[in-house]
């Protein structure tokens, strides 16, 4: 009922609907541009929201973020080039279909699976909110502390690259979060005598640097345009796509559930969700030999999972304030800027805003469907622009965005500095995602630590069932990378010789 009210609120405001349409087009464009994913889209759009109210900001951010995946699917199918890793699995069968002259059919199925998968994911989120609310109310300071540590450990360990350097990155992120004023007495800490650092490092300039500027550098680095030749006059056949979709409805449901479940696990992300859904589609198919040669199921499964995971990822973000991915960390930054602090408040005092967010996500998925089918394939022409021409544009938007948030020139310098740090982290295999999430969680970790000590004493970390369980899971996730390579564990898990 509450959700219906929010639908009515949203649909009755033409200004918000127009904003949503613009955000959908922007999201589609960003998704089509190589290397620019959901986190970059959000980081670049946050500065545009500072003159908007919280509801309009949510419309802009959520609509654009939700449409990025559509753009990635279109370039995966037409050009064999995923905009980001989450769309990589779509290339396996999407591109062969395009080469067979069935690009229109593949795009229709991809966009349908994305739209309905996304809606399915957010509906599951809606129905899980009461459960999450009971759970979050059972949590207290030591549990939040342990949950933040657990979430971050999982992210550091499972994130792409070395687990060891993932942990180092997370610890660096924590230390950066402590810059500013200490939460107990409000005295300055690690500011190195600079008053610019009294409020700490701004989340938006750091994110813009680590993600947008690093990706701009990547575009400059690759110099040429990514696009090969492709047919610009793609005819999308909606009815045929619907027919395919209905025919593979159970695969869609299974893939969406995989996406929702994996979305809830911090750090796992859309790439793992889409690859697992693809793998599951191959394993359960009666014609597995067709995969990789142009099976429509190979497009439907990863796209459904990739969008359904958004609903799952929102649960820990909104309920506990624990972002599961870089994009969710950026979203938290955007929401905080508008006075909405993700965490228990989003399920209690600000619950109507949470319902509004879900309503926006669902309506934007519906609007993105025809927009993507009508103009998506034509927009893929932007991939013809050489990287050397796109790079300065992204750098300029990054600097302008960093400056616009608070009108501080210092933020431009921070964005540049973290851009260079991001390039080096990417080059040497450190995790930018772990760093940014630790930066977001640092305040929560420190505050909940002090609150625990003051309210319960240090033993509360070890005698509360929730804390203790989370501590056990944290230790397990820390030793897992080394455990899984142990011959003994391999034998136990594999049940055999286990060396392969």
């Amino acid at each position: 009922m509450e959700l219906l009210n929010e639908f009515v609120t949203l649909l009755s405001q033409p200004y918000l609907m127009l904003l949503m349409l613009g955000a959908v087009v922007l999201g589609l464009l960003i998704g089509i541009l190589p290397g620019l994913g959901g986190s970059v889209a959000l980081a670049l759009l946050i500065p545009l929201t500072f003159s908007l109210g919280p509801d309009a900001a949510i419309v802009l951010l959520i609509s654009a973020y939700g449409t990025v995946t559509y753009g990635g699917a279109i370039t995966s199918i037409l050009l064999n080039t995923p905009g980001e890793a989450t769309a990589a699995a779509t290339t396996f069968d999407g591109y062969p279909l395009a080469k067979q002259g069935k690009a229109g059919r593949a795009i229709t199925v991809a966009v349908l699976a994305s739209a309905i998968g996304g809606i399915f994911g957010f509906l599951v989120l809606y129905f899980m909110l009461p459960l999450a609310r009971s759970l979050v109310l059972a949590f207290t300071y030591p549990d939040f502390f342990m949950l933040a540590i657990f979430g971050l450990t999982v992210i550091a360990v499972v994130t792409q690259g070395s687990a060891f350097r993932g942990i180092v990155s997370a610890l660096v992120g924590f230390m950066l979060a402590f810059i500013g004023t200490d939460p107990l007495m409000g005295s300055s800490r690690f500011t190195f005598g600079s008053y610019h650092l009294w409020d700490g490092l701004g989340l938006v300039p750091v994110i813009i640097g680590l993600f947008a500027i690093t990706e701009a550098f990547q575009l400059y680095f690759q110099k040429s345009s990514i696009a090969g030749e492709y047919d610009h006059e793609i005819k999308t056949d909606f009815l045929e796509g619907v027919k395919d979709f209905i025919h593979h409805r159970w695969l869609f449901v299974r893939s969406s559930l995989i996406g929702i479940f994996l979305g809830m696990i911090p750090g796992v992300g859309g790439a793992v969700a889409s690859f697992m859904a693809y793998g599951s589609a191959v394993q359960t198919s009666k014609t597995p030999e067709c995969f990789g040669k142009g099976a429509i199921e190979g497009v439907l499964a990863p796209e459904a999972a990739n969008d359904a995971k958004e609903g799952g990822a929102m649960l820990p973000t909104l309920a506990f304030g624990i972002p599961g991915s870089a994009a969710m960390a950026v979203l938290i930054g955007g929401l905080i800027m508008h006075g909405l602090t993700p965490g228990p408040e989003m399920l209690t005092t600000n619950i109507s805003m949470t319902y509004f967010l879900i309503a926006v996500a669902i309506v934007s998925k519906v609007i993105a469907l025809p927009v993507s089918l009508l103009i998506g394939p034509r927009m893929a022409i932007v991939t013809k622009i050489p990287g050397t021409l796109m790079a300065p544009g992204i750098v300029a938007i990054s600097f302008v965005g960093a400056y616009a948030v608070e009108g501080s020139y210092w933020d431009v310098v921070i964005a540049l500095l973290f851009g260079l740090i991001g390039i080096l982290m990417k080059q040497f295999g450190y995790s930018r995602i772990a760093l940014i999430i630790a930066l977001v969680l640092g305040g929560l970790v420190e505050a909940s630590y002090h609150q625990t000590i003051a309210a319960f004493g240090w033993e509360a970390f070890f005698n509360r069932p929730i804390s203790l369980t989370l501590l056990g899971l944290t230790v397990l996730s820390l030793i897992w990378p080394w455990l899984r390579t142990s011959e003994t564990v391999k034998r136990v898990l594999g049940g055999g010789h286990g060396s392969h």
Partner: protein
Amino acid sequence: MVHISARTVFSFLICAFAAIVLFQTLDLRSDAALVPRVIGVPLLILAGFQFFCDLFPALGTRFSFAGTEKGGLDNAPGDQTFGLKGNYPFVAWMVLFVLAIYFTGVIAGIVISFFLYLKFLTKQSWMLSVLYSLLFALSVYLIFVQGMGVYYFTSPVG
């Protein structure tokens, strides 16, 4: 054998950061320093270990989880095809852009830095260099200054 590369320098910088921040905690009240110390000490140890593994490749191979450029156990070696090397002009251009914003403001900074980038760094035609620079600056002006009422895009020293 000692191996000094950009990677070694980067891991040294992380170590140095941890050491400096930990040193700073000596000046803080004990409760304000507590959590940063709890995080900073393991950071210093792990980053130091990473640094020594990078500095002495033999050590890195022995403890391959920390990683060497050769890669190893659970160790993606990073994106070896990507990096600053050979792309310093782009970095220099970004620094110039930031300086241009400081001395001339955002809009003029975009025009100047875009033109320099297009004409001299990527050797585009005069026409493209001028048009792209002006159109981009105009778009930013219309969206941010006119559309959103951002009034502070002037130079901080202007």
